[in-house]
Amino acid sequence: MDCKHANEHLVDYLYQELDADEADRIEGHLRQCEGCSDELASFESTRRLMQKLPLLEPSPSVTELLLKEAARAVQPEAPGFWQRLRAGMRLLVLNPAMTAAAVLVLVLGVSFYAYRQTSPPPSDGELPVPDEIGEPAPVGGPAPATAAKAPQVAQTNLDRQEAKQQKEAEGRAGAAVGDKVVLAQPAREPAADMPKGKHALTLDGTRPKTVAKRRVGRRPAARAKPRPTLRYRKGPKRANEAFDDLDSNALGALGGGGGKRDGHKKSGKLASGTESAPRPAPAPAAQAEEKERSSAASAWLAQARKASKVGKCEQALRLYHRALEEDPGLRRTVGPEVRRCAARIGLDGLAKAQKQLPLLAGWLEAEMSEARRREANQQRAARKKAKPAKPKAVPQAPAQRRSYSSPSAD
């Protein structure tokens, strides 16, 4: 081995990166060659010197931080609420079909719920017929379906089924003479009182005198002064107005009986002179009375819908009025139905009804102005038809046309 070859491998030898045979050969050369041996010694000396340079020690805080971070990174952590929510949202965002499906389900659900809450009767036979109206003429005591109950649809359906069954069972207990049907007491009243119940009425809207007397006797304060007209907010409906009912119902359900009434009080959109000051803790008797009233309101409402269905619109309006007298909280529910009935009774009927039914005055007035507008339009159209058709316009004279042509053309 010559010095050149040894020098080439000196660094390898210094750092012991040679295999045993090669290292032996280098060592043999180094024993013979003083120059290469000195070179190696100087490198070893430099290395030893450099190894005496003190080294920095890592800061304990850095070590601690890194260990914590390392432990946290491999720690299996259960996804929290926000992580799961974020994951769900990511899924929705990444999958447009799922987003569309979720929106569709939401819209359908809300629409169905709102529809079941309002359940307007069909005006032209195209809308689905609610259960109460589809029934044969009820002569028994209708059970309160939704008025003072929790707002869940399922519960409402159950109540309706119960009411149906009770109606069938008690159908023949009520008296029916001609077209005058006497309503029995609500289902919770004793059966013996049914024909003479305080809510009894005839379908033409007149209340039996004995019943009226009894009502006056029981609630003199409510009857002593004339019932003031409820102020109802006019103008276009808000898009989310259907939710107001849901909220008020929910509030009512939370607060116990009389949910709609309480809900409207809280929403502050309906100002009623008949509403007394808020009663934080109504007495049991008052609660029972309130319950009774809302049951009665449901009965009136059912009758009104039936009358509306069979085309007796004026009568239906009177029945709606009765229902509102019992439970002003029904205003939102019956509003569209009242408008539909009012649209079918003509201007004279409207004027008459407006005098007699102060609680419906707002709707009737609106409908009257609408009817007047329709009538004016019809008259205008009739006048137009009556006038002889004008002769067709004479074609423009050539001279007039020339005025637009270029002078050079002449």
Binding site: L10, V11, D12, Y15, E17, S42, F43, S45, T46, R47, R48, L49, M50, Q51, K52, L53, P54, L55, L56, E57, P58, S59, V62, T63, L65, L66, L67, E69, A70, A71, A73, V74, Q75, P76
Partner: protein, 210 residues
């Protein structure tokens, strides 16, 4: 964690420890950290020259290891990965501090004075006797300066070989150059250091640098 487990982890290679950490054993990472943080810190420190910056970069290196643990494959050598990260961070830092000026300890405290107090005289003491301390401090400064004066490639090879004990083959992999080039750079680095510290060679044998 029992003593037996700790010993068992101590015997594992870097790659085995990394795999254990990836599978959720945080103690495996602790072993890795204790094994490598000191040489990596000094590698970085000799590269960037500022202790606080070196600590920040050390932290960053191991944070990247933690983040990348999930994608680590055992076929890759852990130290190659580790020093590649460290080197890249050092290069980035050097670029950022390109115009950074080193303050020499020989620089006068007051500008314009040529024979007044020097910065080196104001360095906190508390070590050995004055003579040995003076010699030791001076030697240390010269050694540090000699390392700093090396060409970047030579310094990197020297630091990885001397501080981290990486074989030339691995250094070549980290630096992306042939192994022979790495050996040449090592030889140039040793020759340069020998030249710079020639006058201290005898002294170095007698004086313990503190």
């Amino acid at each position: 964690m029992t003593q037996g487990h700790a010993v068992a982890l101590e015997r594992l290679s870097d790659e085995e420890l990394m795999e254990a950490y990836r599978e959720g054993n945080a103690r495996a990472f602790e072993h890795l950290l204790r094994r490598h943080q000191r040489p990596v810190l000094n590698f970085i420190y000799r590269h960037v020259g500022v202790e606080s910056v070196a600590e920040e970069l050390l932290q960053e290196v191991f944070l990247r290891i933690i983040k990348g643990a999930a994608s680590y494959k055992r076929t890759a050598k852990f130290t190659t990965w580790l020093y590649t990260i460290a080197r890249n961070l050092c290069v980035d830092q050097s670029r950022r501090a390109k115009h950074r000026q080193h303050v020499s300890l020989d620089q006068p405290v007051k500008r314009g004075e040529t024979d007044g107090a020097r910065l080196g005289d104001m360095v906190a003491n508390g070590g050995p006797a004055v003579d040995r301390q003076a010699i030791g401090r001076e030697l240390q400064q010269r050694m540090e300066q000699a390392i700093a004066d090396l060409a970047d490639e030579q310094r990197e090879v020297f630091l990885m070989r001397e501080y981290a004990g990486l074989p030339f083959k691995e250094i070549a992999e980290i630096m992306g150059c042939p192994e022979n080039t790495v050996k040449s750079r090592m030889r140039y680095a040793l020759e340069r250091l020998r030249q710079e510290l020639e006058e201290y060679r005898d002294l170095a044998e007698a004086v313990q640098v503190s």
